[in-house]
Point group: C2
Chain length 150, copies 2
């Protein structure tokens, strides 16, 4: 939800997870936190083109394992990353919210506060987690479209 965070928040975050506070990591965090949508891996790469690709992979993996960010695949199967809400921990992701993928701007929105209605599965299926995906047009793109057709 892109609540404003400052430099020190990120340093604390890394501290908490026993990760060293390096410049690439802090930059990745601040980029992701500055956006209201998830950030695609390609976007990350092009914006942080001075950071080695491999380093980026490793940072993202480390963050994901620690429960700092979560990964979500968009309609094209490309990985997007977003900050986890507070209740995620190491190996305990609770990102059971709605992921909305805009078909126009391709952005992925994490709608955290939208909790899913309970779904009962057929006999024998033991569920660990749910994720609901929706695709369509996001508010921004809906507005733009309306402005054009007016």
């Amino acid at each position: 939800m892109a609540q404003t965070r400052n430099k020190f928040d990120f340093e604390d975050l890394l501290d908490k997870h026993h990760l060293k506070k390096t410049s690439p990591r802090l930059r990745v965090l601040s980029m992701m936190a500055s956006k209201s949508t998830a950030t695609s891996q390609p976007d990350l790469e092009s914006v942080m083109n001075d950071i080695d690709r491999v380093t980026l992979y490793r940072i993202l993996n480390a963050f994901e394992e620690k429960g700092i960010i979560h990964k979500v695949f968009d309609l094209n199967g490309t990985a997007n990353y977003a900050m986890c809400s507070s209740n995620c921990g190491e190996h305990h992701h609770h990102d059971e919210h709605l992921h909305f993928n805009c078909t126009v701007c391709k952005n992925v929105y994490c709608l955290d506060d939208l909790h899913l209605p309970p779904v009962s599965l057929p006999e024998g299926f033991k569920t660990e987690g749910f994720t609901l995906y929706a695709n369509g047009t996001c508010p921004k793109c809906t507005k733009k479209a309306a402005a054009k057709s007016a």
Copy 2:
């Protein structure tokens, strides 16, 4: 749900969509229809290793466009394909069912007859489609685990 289909069903299917009845296509169809779960692209490739990789890509794309199969990404972001239920058509996918990804055997189950409860989105989001994902342990793997621990 892997209803038994014979050779002629597949030929009809291809006919209906104005696709030529070629041997690679028929093989892909029969493989997918023989399974109760979605088929991962790697699996398809290894089983059909005599079919060119490129051909496989093109077949899958063609089938998807025509609404014969649908693509679903599993937990690892690898593409899986499954036959569409009858109400899918060209550019009109209605695979709004539950995709269950077993964390043990990695299989993706399409639970067609499970319809999602209605979800209301925040102001401004216009939804075209929903997909619900769940992960956990499938009946087979649950059984196996129970047998072992007994």
